[in-house]
Amino acid sequence: MITTTDDISWRDLFEPQEIGTTFVLTVGNLFRSDDGVGPFIAKHVPHPRGHIRILDAGDKPENCIDRATELKPVRSVIIDAADFGGRPGEIRLIPEEAIPDTMLSTHTFPLRIIAKILAEDTGSPVFFLGIQPKTMDFGEGLSPEIRSAADEIVRMLSAKIQL
Protein backbone atom coordinates (compact mmCIF):
# COMPACT_ATOMS: atom_id res chain seq x y z
CA MET A 1 0.00 0.00 0.00
CA ILE A 2 0.97 3.60 -0.44
CA THR A 3 0.84 5.18 2.96
CA THR A 4 0.37 8.54 4.49
CA THR A 5 -1.07 9.52 7.82
CA ASP A 6 -1.82 12.79 9.48
CA ASP A 7 0.01 11.73 12.65
CA ILE A 8 3.35 10.94 11.10
CA SER A 9 6.00 13.57 10.56
CA TRP A 10 8.34 13.21 7.65
CA ARG A 11 11.19 13.20 10.17
CA ASP A 12 9.85 9.93 11.60
CA LEU A 13 10.23 8.24 8.24
CA PHE A 14 13.94 7.65 8.67
CA GLU A 15 13.88 6.30 12.23
CA PRO A 16 15.53 2.89 12.44
CA GLN A 17 12.98 0.12 12.10
CA GLU A 18 13.12 -2.87 14.42
CA ILE A 19 14.10 -5.09 11.54
CA GLY A 20 14.99 -4.18 8.00
CA THR A 21 15.91 -1.39 5.68
CA THR A 22 14.33 1.90 4.75
CA PHE A 23 14.68 2.37 1.02
CA VAL A 24 14.91 5.98 -0.16
CA LEU A 25 14.30 6.57 -3.85
CA THR A 26 15.07 10.04 -5.11
CA VAL A 27 13.55 11.26 -8.33
CA GLY A 28 14.11 14.33 -10.48
CA ASN A 29 15.95 16.07 -13.24
CA LEU A 30 19.07 18.05 -12.40
CA PHE A 31 18.54 20.20 -15.48
CA ARG A 32 15.08 21.41 -14.45
CA SER A 33 16.16 23.67 -11.57
CA ASP A 34 14.32 22.68 -8.35
CA ASP A 35 13.20 19.38 -9.88
CA GLY A 36 16.76 18.31 -9.14
CA VAL A 37 16.15 18.37 -5.38
CA GLY A 38 15.82 14.56 -5.18
CA PRO A 39 19.12 13.79 -6.93
CA PHE A 40 20.77 16.62 -4.92
CA ILE A 41 19.76 14.90 -1.66
CA ALA A 42 21.00 11.50 -2.85
CA LYS A 43 24.33 13.00 -3.83
CA HIS A 44 24.89 14.81 -0.52
CA VAL A 45 24.06 12.07 1.97
CA PRO A 46 27.48 10.60 2.85
CA HIS A 47 27.88 6.85 2.55
CA PRO A 48 24.32 5.63 3.05
CA ARG A 49 24.52 2.42 5.00
CA GLY A 50 22.94 0.57 7.88
CA HIS A 51 19.18 0.76 7.90
CA ILE A 52 18.95 3.42 5.20
CA ARG A 53 19.67 2.78 1.52
CA ILE A 54 19.42 5.56 -1.01
CA LEU A 55 19.08 5.18 -4.74
CA ASP A 56 18.84 8.08 -7.15
CA ALA A 57 16.50 7.19 -10.01
CA GLY A 58 16.89 10.54 -11.75
CA ASP A 59 14.13 10.77 -14.33
CA LYS A 60 13.91 7.00 -14.81
CA PRO A 61 12.28 5.66 -11.60
CA GLU A 62 10.86 2.69 -13.52
CA ASN A 63 14.34 1.26 -13.85
CA CYS A 64 14.86 1.02 -10.07
CA ILE A 65 12.03 -1.26 -8.98
CA ASP A 66 14.07 -4.46 -9.29
CA ARG A 67 16.80 -3.01 -7.11
CA ALA A 68 14.26 -1.98 -4.50
CA THR A 69 12.71 -5.43 -4.51
CA GLU A 70 16.12 -7.03 -4.00
CA LEU A 71 16.66 -4.91 -0.89
CA LYS A 72 13.40 -6.14 0.66
CA PRO A 73 12.83 -2.88 2.55
CA VAL A 74 10.33 -2.60 5.34
CA ARG A 75 9.52 0.89 4.16
CA SER A 76 10.16 2.96 1.04
CA VAL A 77 10.28 6.72 0.76
CA ILE A 78 10.11 8.45 -2.62
CA ILE A 79 11.57 11.94 -2.51
CA ASP A 80 10.63 14.31 -5.32
CA ALA A 81 9.77 17.90 -6.07
CA ALA A 82 5.99 18.27 -5.81
CA ASP A 83 3.78 21.25 -6.45
CA PHE A 84 1.21 21.05 -3.64
CA GLY A 85 0.66 24.78 -3.48
CA GLY A 86 2.90 25.26 -0.46
CA ARG A 87 5.62 27.80 0.14
CA PRO A 88 8.86 27.15 -1.78
CA GLY A 89 10.97 24.67 0.15
CA GLU A 90 8.07 23.34 2.24
CA ILE A 91 8.43 19.62 2.95
CA ARG A 92 5.28 17.57 3.10
CA LEU A 93 4.13 13.95 3.07
CA ILE A 94 1.89 13.64 0.06
CA PRO A 95 -1.22 11.47 0.20
CA GLU A 96 -1.61 8.99 -2.64
CA GLU A 97 -4.76 10.63 -3.94
CA ALA A 98 -2.91 13.93 -4.29
CA ILE A 99 -0.36 12.50 -6.69
CA PRO A 100 -1.62 13.38 -10.12
CA ASP A 101 -2.34 10.63 -12.63
CA THR A 102 -0.74 12.68 -15.29
CA MET A 103 2.96 12.57 -15.69
CA LEU A 104 5.62 15.15 -15.42
CA SER A 105 6.65 13.96 -18.85
CA THR A 106 4.48 11.81 -21.07
CA HIS A 107 7.46 9.69 -21.84
CA THR A 108 8.06 8.75 -18.24
CA PHE A 109 6.17 6.17 -16.24
CA PRO A 110 3.69 7.79 -13.81
CA LEU A 111 5.22 7.93 -10.35
CA ARG A 112 1.95 6.68 -8.86
CA ILE A 113 2.31 3.45 -10.80
CA ILE A 114 5.93 3.08 -9.77
CA ALA A 115 4.87 3.51 -6.15
CA LYS A 116 2.07 0.96 -6.41
CA ILE A 117 4.32 -1.65 -7.98
CA LEU A 118 7.01 -0.88 -5.44
CA ALA A 119 4.49 -1.39 -2.62
CA GLU A 120 3.19 -4.64 -4.16
CA ASP A 121 6.61 -6.09 -4.89
CA THR A 122 8.20 -5.21 -1.55
CA GLY A 123 5.05 -5.87 0.48
CA SER A 124 5.84 -2.77 2.49
CA PRO A 125 4.49 0.76 2.75
CA VAL A 126 5.60 3.52 0.39
CA PHE A 127 5.63 7.18 1.39
CA PHE A 128 5.87 10.21 -0.87
CA LEU A 129 7.96 13.03 0.51
CA GLY A 130 7.40 16.14 -1.55
CA ILE A 131 9.37 19.37 -1.59
CA GLN A 132 7.58 22.42 -2.97
CA PRO A 133 9.68 23.80 -5.85
CA LYS A 134 10.01 27.45 -6.71
CA THR A 135 10.86 26.93 -10.35
CA MET A 136 11.02 23.94 -12.67
CA ASP A 137 12.44 25.90 -15.60
CA PHE A 138 15.40 24.64 -17.55
CA GLY A 139 18.54 25.35 -15.55
CA GLU A 140 20.98 23.91 -13.08
CA GLY A 141 21.07 24.50 -9.31
CA LEU A 142 18.41 24.80 -6.65
CA SER A 143 16.61 27.94 -5.48
CA PRO A 144 17.85 29.04 -2.01
CA GLU A 145 14.62 27.93 -0.27
CA ILE A 146 14.74 24.51 -1.91
CA ARG A 147 18.45 24.18 -1.16
CA SER A 148 17.66 24.88 2.47
CA ALA A 149 14.97 22.18 2.53
CA ALA A 150 17.32 19.74 0.81
CA ASP A 151 20.02 20.48 3.37
CA GLU A 152 17.54 19.79 6.18
CA ILE A 153 16.64 16.38 4.72
CA VAL A 154 20.31 15.59 4.11
CA ARG A 155 21.10 16.47 7.76
CA MET A 156 18.24 14.29 8.97
CA LEU A 157 19.24 11.34 6.82
CA SER A 158 22.92 11.69 7.73
CA ALA A 159 22.11 11.77 11.43
CA LYS A 160 19.90 8.71 11.22
CA ILE A 161 22.56 6.79 9.30
CA GLN A 162 24.91 7.29 12.26
CA LEU A 163 22.45 5.61 14.62
Binding site: F31, E62, D101, T106
Partner: protein, 443 residues
Protein backbone atom coordinates in the same frame (compact mmCIF):
# COMPACT_ATOMS: atom_id res chain seq x y z
CA UNK B 1 -31.04 20.89 -37.07
CA UNK B 2 -28.26 19.36 -35.03
CA UNK B 3 -25.55 20.06 -37.58
CA UNK B 4 -26.57 23.72 -37.77
CA UNK B 5 -25.69 24.28 -34.15
CA UNK B 6 -22.90 26.48 -32.94
CA UNK B 7 -20.13 24.69 -31.15
CA UNK B 8 -17.66 26.10 -28.73
CA UNK B 9 -15.40 23.64 -27.00
CA UNK B 10 -12.23 24.47 -25.15
CA UNK B 11 -10.08 21.60 -24.00
CA UNK B 12 -7.20 23.06 -22.16
CA UNK B 13 -4.09 21.18 -21.14
CA UNK B 14 -4.77 18.11 -23.19
CA UNK B 15 -2.96 15.33 -21.42
CA UNK B 16 -0.91 12.50 -22.82
CA UNK B 17 0.99 14.53 -25.36
CA UNK B 18 4.48 15.80 -24.79
CA UNK B 19 4.53 19.58 -24.51
CA UNK B 20 1.97 22.37 -24.42
CA UNK B 21 -0.51 23.31 -27.13
CA UNK B 22 -4.17 24.17 -27.61
CA UNK B 23 -6.81 22.91 -29.99
CA UNK B 24 -9.24 25.66 -30.89
CA UNK B 25 -12.45 24.78 -32.75
CA UNK B 26 -15.16 27.28 -33.73
CA UNK B 27 -18.27 26.05 -35.54
CA UNK B 28 -21.07 28.50 -36.36
CA UNK B 29 -24.41 27.21 -37.69
CA UNK B 30 -22.77 23.95 -38.63
CA UNK B 31 -19.94 25.60 -40.54
CA UNK B 32 -16.37 25.31 -39.36
CA UNK B 33 -14.98 28.80 -38.81
CA UNK B 34 -11.77 28.10 -36.94
CA UNK B 35 -9.71 24.97 -36.54
CA UNK B 36 -6.27 25.42 -35.09
CA UNK B 37 -3.57 23.56 -33.26
CA UNK B 38 -1.89 26.33 -31.31
CA UNK B 39 1.62 25.67 -30.15
CA UNK B 40 2.26 28.06 -27.31
CA UNK B 41 5.63 26.86 -26.14
CA UNK B 42 8.56 29.19 -26.09
CA UNK B 43 11.28 28.47 -28.62
CA UNK B 44 14.26 26.71 -27.07
CA UNK B 45 17.01 28.16 -29.24
CA UNK B 46 19.05 24.99 -29.60
CA UNK B 47 20.34 26.19 -32.96
CA UNK B 48 21.64 29.31 -31.20
CA UNK B 49 23.26 27.23 -28.48
CA UNK B 50 25.14 25.25 -31.15
CA UNK B 51 26.71 28.31 -32.72
CA UNK B 52 30.32 28.61 -31.69
CA UNK B 53 30.50 25.06 -30.34
CA UNK B 54 32.65 22.26 -31.72
CA UNK B 55 30.84 20.01 -34.16
CA UNK B 56 32.40 17.13 -32.19
CA UNK B 57 30.24 17.95 -29.14
CA UNK B 58 27.06 18.82 -31.00
CA UNK B 59 25.48 15.40 -30.47
CA UNK B 60 25.75 15.75 -26.69
CA UNK B 61 24.00 19.13 -26.85
CA UNK B 62 21.27 18.21 -29.31
CA UNK B 63 20.51 14.95 -27.53
CA UNK B 64 18.99 17.17 -24.83
CA UNK B 65 16.35 18.44 -27.24
CA UNK B 66 14.36 15.36 -26.29
CA UNK B 67 14.44 12.67 -23.58
CA UNK B 68 12.75 10.09 -25.77
CA UNK B 69 14.36 10.80 -29.14
CA UNK B 70 17.77 11.41 -27.60
CA UNK B 71 19.35 8.68 -29.72
CA UNK B 72 17.68 10.01 -32.86
CA UNK B 73 18.97 13.53 -32.26
CA UNK B 74 22.40 12.12 -31.48
CA UNK B 75 22.48 10.18 -34.74
CA UNK B 76 21.11 13.03 -36.89
CA UNK B 77 23.69 15.31 -35.31
CA UNK B 78 26.55 12.91 -35.94
CA UNK B 79 25.36 12.33 -39.50
CA UNK B 80 25.26 16.08 -40.20
CA UNK B 81 28.75 16.48 -38.74
CA UNK B 82 30.14 13.58 -40.75
CA UNK B 83 28.50 14.92 -43.90
CA UNK B 84 30.14 18.29 -43.33
CA UNK B 85 33.52 16.72 -42.57
CA UNK B 86 33.35 14.22 -45.42
CA UNK B 87 33.48 11.12 -43.22
CA UNK B 88 31.95 7.83 -44.31
CA UNK B 89 31.11 5.60 -41.35
CA UNK B 90 32.14 1.95 -41.40
CA UNK B 91 29.65 -0.85 -41.97
CA UNK B 92 30.02 -1.90 -38.33
CA UNK B 93 29.31 1.64 -37.14
CA UNK B 94 26.18 1.80 -39.30
CA UNK B 95 24.96 -1.52 -37.88
CA UNK B 96 25.45 -0.35 -34.31
CA UNK B 97 23.77 2.97 -35.05
CA UNK B 98 20.83 1.16 -36.61
CA UNK B 99 20.63 -1.09 -33.56
CA UNK B 100 20.55 2.00 -31.36
CA UNK B 101 17.77 3.48 -33.45
CA UNK B 102 15.77 0.23 -33.20
CA UNK B 103 16.03 0.39 -29.41
CA UNK B 104 14.75 3.95 -29.43
CA UNK B 105 11.86 3.08 -31.76
CA UNK B 106 10.88 0.20 -29.48
CA UNK B 107 11.11 2.32 -26.33
CA UNK B 108 9.19 5.24 -27.79
CA UNK B 109 6.52 3.22 -29.64
CA UNK B 110 5.87 0.97 -26.63
CA UNK B 111 5.41 3.99 -24.41
CA UNK B 112 3.09 5.69 -26.85
CA UNK B 113 1.02 2.55 -27.42
CA UNK B 114 0.66 1.70 -23.72
CA UNK B 115 0.75 5.00 -21.85
CA UNK B 116 -0.74 7.46 -24.29
CA UNK B 117 -3.12 5.57 -26.59
CA UNK B 118 -4.26 2.42 -24.76
CA UNK B 119 -6.18 4.38 -22.06
CA UNK B 120 -8.40 5.90 -24.78
CA UNK B 121 -9.06 2.54 -26.38
CA UNK B 122 -9.67 0.87 -23.01
CA UNK B 123 -12.00 3.69 -21.98
CA UNK B 124 -10.08 5.11 -19.04
CA UNK B 125 -8.84 8.63 -18.41
CA UNK B 126 -5.18 7.79 -17.99
CA UNK B 127 -2.73 4.94 -17.72
CA UNK B 128 -2.70 5.01 -13.90
CA UNK B 129 -6.09 3.34 -13.22
CA UNK B 130 -4.94 0.42 -15.34
CA UNK B 131 -2.68 -0.68 -12.48
CA UNK B 132 -5.84 -1.82 -10.67
CA UNK B 133 -7.77 -3.20 -13.65
CA UNK B 134 -5.03 -4.31 -16.00
CA UNK B 135 -2.08 -4.98 -13.70
CA UNK B 136 -0.45 -7.44 -16.10
CA UNK B 137 -0.64 -4.91 -18.93
CA UNK B 138 1.00 -2.20 -16.82
CA UNK B 139 3.76 -4.51 -15.66
CA UNK B 140 4.37 -5.68 -19.21
CA UNK B 141 4.72 -2.09 -20.39
CA UNK B 142 7.11 -1.41 -17.53
CA UNK B 143 9.13 -4.52 -18.30
CA UNK B 144 9.43 -3.70 -22.01
CA UNK B 145 10.43 -0.13 -21.35
CA UNK B 146 13.01 -1.10 -18.75
CA UNK B 147 14.53 -3.64 -21.13
CA UNK B 148 14.86 -1.00 -23.84
CA UNK B 149 16.50 1.39 -21.37
CA UNK B 150 18.91 -1.30 -20.14
CA UNK B 151 19.82 -2.27 -23.70
CA UNK B 152 20.55 1.36 -24.48
CA UNK B 153 22.74 1.52 -21.38
CA UNK B 154 24.77 -1.47 -22.55
CA UNK B 155 25.15 -0.17 -26.10
CA UNK B 156 25.89 3.51 -25.55
CA UNK B 157 26.62 3.86 -21.84
CA UNK B 158 23.41 5.50 -20.64
CA UNK B 159 19.67 4.82 -20.39
CA UNK B 160 19.11 8.08 -22.26
CA UNK B 161 21.42 10.61 -23.87
CA UNK B 162 24.04 8.29 -25.39
CA UNK B 163 27.59 8.97 -24.36
CA UNK B 164 29.63 6.62 -26.54
CA UNK B 165 28.14 7.48 -29.96
CA UNK B 166 30.40 10.09 -31.54
CA UNK B 167 31.49 11.52 -34.85
CA UNK B 168 33.38 8.73 -36.60
CA UNK B 169 31.95 5.81 -34.61
CA UNK B 170 31.80 4.73 -30.98
CA UNK B 171 34.12 5.39 -28.04
CA UNK B 172 33.24 1.96 -26.65
CA UNK B 173 32.25 -1.11 -28.60
CA UNK B 174 30.19 -3.97 -27.20
CA UNK B 175 32.10 -6.99 -25.93
CA UNK B 176 31.13 -10.55 -26.81
CA UNK B 177 29.42 -10.77 -23.43
CA UNK B 178 27.54 -7.52 -24.14
CA UNK B 179 26.30 -8.95 -27.43
CA UNK B 180 25.16 -12.16 -25.73
CA UNK B 181 23.39 -10.18 -22.99
CA UNK B 182 21.69 -7.93 -25.53
CA UNK B 183 20.60 -10.88 -27.64
CA UNK B 184 19.07 -12.64 -24.62
CA UNK B 185 17.27 -9.45 -23.61
CA UNK B 186 15.93 -8.86 -27.12
CA UNK B 187 14.77 -12.45 -27.55
CA UNK B 188 13.23 -12.20 -24.07
CA UNK B 189 11.07 -9.30 -25.32
CA UNK B 190 9.30 -11.47 -27.89
CA UNK B 191 6.59 -12.93 -25.61
CA UNK B 192 5.73 -9.46 -24.26
CA UNK B 193 5.60 -8.06 -27.78
CA UNK B 194 3.31 -10.92 -28.84
CA UNK B 195 1.03 -10.07 -25.91
CA UNK B 196 1.16 -6.41 -26.96
CA UNK B 197 0.05 -7.38 -30.45
CA UNK B 198 -2.85 -9.38 -28.98
CA UNK B 199 -3.89 -6.43 -26.83
CA UNK B 200 -3.83 -3.86 -29.60
CA UNK B 201 -5.34 -6.17 -32.25
CA UNK B 202 -8.41 -6.56 -30.02
CA UNK B 203 -8.93 -2.79 -29.73
CA UNK B 204 -10.91 -0.69 -32.16
CA UNK B 205 -9.41 2.43 -33.69
CA UNK B 206 -11.67 5.28 -34.83
CA UNK B 207 -12.68 5.24 -38.48
CA UNK B 208 -11.59 8.36 -40.33
CA UNK B 209 -9.74 8.89 -43.58
CA UNK B 210 -8.06 11.83 -45.26
CA UNK B 211 -5.74 11.37 -48.18
CA UNK B 212 -2.52 13.27 -47.62
CA UNK B 213 1.09 13.23 -48.75
CA UNK B 214 3.41 11.04 -46.68
CA UNK B 215 7.12 11.86 -46.47
CA UNK B 216 10.10 9.81 -45.33
CA UNK B 217 13.36 8.22 -46.32
CA UNK B 218 13.49 5.77 -49.21
CA UNK B 219 16.39 3.73 -50.55
CA UNK B 220 17.14 1.45 -53.45
CA UNK B 221 18.54 -1.33 -51.30
CA UNK B 222 16.50 -3.91 -49.41
CA UNK B 223 16.74 -2.21 -46.03
CA UNK B 224 13.82 -0.49 -44.29
CA UNK B 225 15.50 2.95 -44.47
CA UNK B 226 16.03 4.69 -41.16
CA UNK B 227 19.53 6.09 -41.41
CA UNK B 228 20.31 6.30 -45.10
CA UNK B 229 18.61 7.07 -48.39
CA UNK B 230 16.82 9.91 -50.13
CA UNK B 231 13.79 11.90 -49.13
CA UNK B 232 10.60 10.90 -50.88
CA UNK B 233 6.86 11.30 -50.74
CA UNK B 234 3.84 9.20 -51.69
CA UNK B 235 3.11 11.90 -54.31
CA UNK B 236 6.23 10.90 -56.26
CA UNK B 237 8.75 13.44 -54.97
CA UNK B 238 12.30 12.16 -54.50
CA UNK B 239 15.23 14.37 -53.54
CA UNK B 240 18.63 14.13 -51.91
CA UNK B 241 18.76 14.89 -48.19
CA UNK B 242 20.83 17.96 -49.00
CA UNK B 243 17.65 19.39 -50.54
CA UNK B 244 15.65 18.97 -47.32
CA UNK B 245 14.62 22.63 -47.25
CA UNK B 246 12.74 22.16 -50.51
CA UNK B 247 10.94 19.21 -48.89
CA UNK B 248 9.93 20.98 -45.70
CA UNK B 249 9.22 24.44 -47.17
CA UNK B 250 8.82 25.82 -43.65
CA UNK B 251 6.46 28.73 -43.05
CA UNK B 252 5.16 30.52 -40.01
CA UNK B 253 1.56 30.84 -38.83
CA UNK B 254 0.36 33.41 -36.29
CA UNK B 255 -1.08 30.87 -33.82
CA UNK B 256 1.97 28.67 -33.43
CA UNK B 257 5.46 29.20 -32.11
CA UNK B 258 6.44 26.13 -34.16
CA UNK B 259 6.87 26.44 -37.90
CA UNK B 260 4.62 24.54 -40.28
CA UNK B 261 5.65 22.64 -43.41
CA UNK B 262 4.15 21.57 -46.74
CA UNK B 263 5.34 19.91 -49.95
CA UNK B 264 3.14 19.05 -52.93
CA UNK B 265 -0.19 19.64 -51.18
CA UNK B 266 -1.47 21.83 -48.36
CA UNK B 267 0.26 19.59 -45.78
CA UNK B 268 2.19 16.36 -45.37
CA UNK B 269 2.72 13.74 -42.68
CA UNK B 270 5.79 11.97 -41.34
CA UNK B 271 6.15 9.11 -38.88
CA UNK B 272 5.29 5.43 -38.65
CA UNK B 273 2.32 5.60 -41.03
CA UNK B 274 4.39 7.52 -43.58
CA UNK B 275 7.17 4.94 -43.37
CA UNK B 276 4.61 2.14 -43.60
CA UNK B 277 3.14 3.72 -46.73
CA UNK B 278 6.52 4.35 -48.34
CA UNK B 279 8.42 1.24 -47.35
CA UNK B 280 5.91 -1.49 -46.56
CA UNK B 281 7.66 -4.05 -48.74
CA UNK B 282 10.88 -3.67 -46.78
CA UNK B 283 9.36 -4.48 -43.40
CA UNK B 284 10.37 -7.71 -41.69
CA UNK B 285 8.07 -10.60 -42.73
CA UNK B 286 6.68 -10.82 -39.19
CA UNK B 287 5.80 -7.13 -39.30
CA UNK B 288 4.08 -7.55 -42.67
CA UNK B 289 2.21 -10.55 -41.29
CA UNK B 290 0.96 -8.36 -38.44
CA UNK B 291 -0.09 -5.66 -40.90
CA UNK B 292 -2.16 -8.20 -42.79
CA UNK B 293 -3.71 -9.44 -39.56
CA UNK B 294 -4.61 -5.84 -38.65
CA UNK B 295 -6.10 -5.34 -42.13
CA UNK B 296 -3.61 -2.63 -43.01
CA UNK B 297 -2.01 -2.11 -46.38
CA UNK B 298 -0.38 0.85 -48.08
CA UNK B 299 -1.60 3.43 -48.75
CA UNK B 300 -3.35 3.64 -45.41
CA UNK B 301 -4.87 7.11 -44.89
CA UNK B 302 -6.45 6.77 -41.43
CA UNK B 303 -4.21 8.88 -39.16
CA UNK B 304 -5.52 7.07 -36.06
CA UNK B 305 -3.76 3.98 -37.42
CA UNK B 306 -0.38 5.63 -36.94
CA UNK B 307 -0.44 3.79 -33.60
CA UNK B 308 -1.02 0.47 -35.38
CA UNK B 309 1.84 1.33 -37.73
CA UNK B 310 4.00 1.93 -34.65
CA UNK B 311 3.16 -1.56 -33.43
CA UNK B 312 4.06 -3.01 -36.83
CA UNK B 313 7.33 -1.09 -36.78
CA UNK B 314 8.03 -2.32 -33.25
CA UNK B 315 7.89 -5.92 -34.47
CA UNK B 316 10.18 -4.99 -37.35
CA UNK B 317 12.63 -3.24 -35.04
CA UNK B 318 12.74 -6.10 -32.57
CA UNK B 319 13.36 -8.73 -35.24
CA UNK B 320 15.89 -6.60 -37.10
CA UNK B 321 17.69 -5.76 -33.83
CA UNK B 322 17.98 -9.48 -33.10
CA UNK B 323 19.33 -10.07 -36.61
CA UNK B 324 21.88 -7.26 -36.23
CA UNK B 325 23.20 -8.61 -32.93
CA UNK B 326 23.36 -12.15 -34.29
CA UNK B 327 25.25 -10.82 -37.32
CA UNK B 328 27.70 -8.96 -35.10
CA UNK B 329 28.23 -12.13 -33.06
CA UNK B 330 28.89 -14.09 -36.22
CA UNK B 331 31.26 -11.53 -37.77
CA UNK B 332 32.90 -10.50 -34.51
CA UNK B 333 33.33 -6.90 -33.40
CA UNK B 334 36.30 -5.05 -34.90
CA UNK B 335 37.53 -3.44 -31.70
CA UNK B 336 40.22 -1.50 -33.54
CA UNK B 337 37.39 0.76 -34.73
CA UNK B 338 37.05 2.31 -31.29
CA UNK B 339 37.00 6.07 -31.83
CA UNK B 340 38.40 8.16 -29.00
CA UNK B 341 37.90 11.55 -30.56
CA UNK B 342 36.81 13.88 -27.73
CA UNK B 343 36.71 17.38 -29.19
CA UNK B 344 39.27 16.21 -31.75
CA UNK B 345 42.07 17.89 -29.78
CA UNK B 346 44.50 15.33 -31.18
CA UNK B 347 43.38 16.01 -34.73
CA UNK B 348 42.46 12.37 -35.25
CA UNK B 349 39.74 13.41 -37.69
CA UNK B 350 40.80 15.78 -40.50
CA UNK B 351 38.71 18.94 -40.30
CA UNK B 352 37.60 21.18 -43.16
CA UNK B 353 34.98 23.83 -43.56
CA UNK B 354 31.73 22.43 -44.88
CA UNK B 355 28.00 22.11 -44.74
CA UNK B 356 26.37 18.81 -43.75
CA UNK B 357 22.88 17.42 -43.44
CA UNK B 358 21.67 14.59 -41.22
CA UNK B 359 18.34 13.01 -42.20
CA UNK B 360 17.34 10.25 -39.81
CA UNK B 361 14.02 8.50 -39.27
CA UNK B 362 13.14 8.77 -35.57
CA UNK B 363 9.97 7.46 -33.90
CA UNK B 364 7.81 10.45 -34.93
CA UNK B 365 9.19 10.87 -38.44
CA UNK B 366 12.14 12.14 -40.38
CA UNK B 367 14.45 14.45 -38.42
CA UNK B 368 16.84 16.95 -39.99
CA UNK B 369 20.00 18.47 -38.57
CA UNK B 370 22.04 20.80 -40.77
CA UNK B 371 25.36 22.31 -39.66
CA UNK B 372 27.66 24.76 -41.38
CA UNK B 373 31.15 24.52 -39.90
CA UNK B 374 34.36 26.46 -40.33
CA UNK B 375 37.90 25.13 -40.90
CA UNK B 376 38.33 24.49 -37.17
CA UNK B 377 35.17 22.44 -36.90
CA UNK B 378 33.25 25.20 -35.14
CA UNK B 379 29.55 25.45 -35.93
CA UNK B 380 28.71 28.72 -37.64
CA UNK B 381 25.05 27.96 -38.35
CA UNK B 382 22.68 25.18 -37.39
CA UNK B 383 19.18 24.18 -38.38
CA UNK B 384 17.09 21.41 -36.78
CA UNK B 385 13.68 20.46 -38.16
CA UNK B 386 11.89 17.91 -36.02
CA UNK B 387 9.07 15.56 -37.04
CA UNK B 388 6.33 17.11 -34.89
CA UNK B 389 6.80 20.44 -36.66
CA UNK B 390 6.22 18.68 -39.94
CA UNK B 391 3.01 17.06 -38.66
CA UNK B 392 1.34 20.12 -37.08
CA UNK B 393 -0.06 21.46 -40.35
CA UNK B 394 -1.29 17.99 -41.32
CA UNK B 395 -3.04 17.57 -37.96
CA UNK B 396 -4.88 20.84 -38.52
CA UNK B 397 -6.05 19.70 -41.95
CA UNK B 398 -7.16 16.36 -40.45
CA UNK B 399 -9.17 18.28 -37.85
CA UNK B 400 -10.74 20.44 -40.56
CA UNK B 401 -12.06 17.32 -42.28
CA UNK B 402 -12.91 15.45 -39.08
CA UNK B 403 -14.93 18.07 -37.21
CA UNK B 404 -17.77 18.44 -39.78
CA UNK B 405 -18.01 14.62 -39.94
CA UNK B 406 -18.62 14.31 -36.20
CA UNK B 407 -20.72 17.39 -35.50
CA UNK B 408 -23.71 15.24 -34.53
CA UNK B 409 -21.73 13.85 -31.63
CA UNK B 410 -21.84 15.61 -28.27
CA UNK B 411 -19.10 17.95 -27.16
CA UNK B 412 -17.41 15.36 -25.00
CA UNK B 413 -17.23 12.86 -27.84
CA UNK B 414 -15.94 15.47 -30.28
CA UNK B 415 -13.31 16.53 -27.81
CA UNK B 416 -12.18 12.95 -27.26
CA UNK B 417 -12.02 12.29 -31.01
CA UNK B 418 -9.83 15.37 -31.49
CA UNK B 419 -7.60 14.55 -28.55
CA UNK B 420 -7.17 11.02 -29.83
CA UNK B 421 -6.36 12.33 -33.30
CA UNK B 422 -3.60 14.56 -31.99
CA UNK B 423 -2.27 11.81 -29.71
CA UNK B 424 -2.18 9.37 -32.66
CA UNK B 425 0.62 11.48 -34.12
CA UNK B 426 2.52 11.07 -30.82
CA UNK B 427 3.44 14.76 -30.97
CA UNK B 428 6.45 15.95 -29.08
CA UNK B 429 5.60 19.63 -28.82
CA UNK B 430 8.41 20.14 -26.31
CA UNK B 431 10.83 19.27 -29.05
CA UNK B 432 9.16 21.50 -31.58
CA UNK B 433 9.49 24.37 -29.35
CA UNK B 434 5.65 21.72 -25.04
CA UNK B 435 1.03 20.65 -23.77
CA UNK B 436 -2.21 20.75 -25.48
CA UNK B 437 -5.59 22.30 -24.83
CA UNK B 438 -8.65 21.88 -27.03
CA UNK B 439 -11.02 24.84 -27.35
CA UNK B 440 -14.30 24.68 -29.20
CA UNK B 441 -16.16 27.88 -29.83
CA UNK B 442 -19.96 27.19 -30.10
CA UNK B 443 -21.31 24.90 -32.76
Amino acid sequence: MMNKRNVQINVEYLTRVEGHGNIVIDVKEGTLQTCRLDVVESPRFFEGILRGRSVFEAQHITSRICGICACGHTLASIQAAEDALGITPTAQTLKLRKLLLHLEFLDSHILHIYLLVAPDLLGVKSFVPLIDTHGKVVRRALRLKKTCNDLCDILVGRHVHPISAVVGGFTKLPSEKDLETMLNMLVGMRPDMEATVELIAALKFPEFERDTEYVGLVSDDGEYPLLTGDLASTDGVRKSKSEYRSITNEFTVPHSSAKHTKLSRESYAVGSLARFNLNYEKLHPKAKELARALGMQPKCINPYLNTAAQLIESIHCLEDAIAIVEGLQQDGIAHDEVMLVGLNEQGRIPVKAGNGVGAVEVPRGVLFHNYEIDGQGVIKNANCIIPTNQNLNNIEHDMEKLVPEILLKDDEQITLALEMLVRAYDPCISCSTHFLDVRFVNR
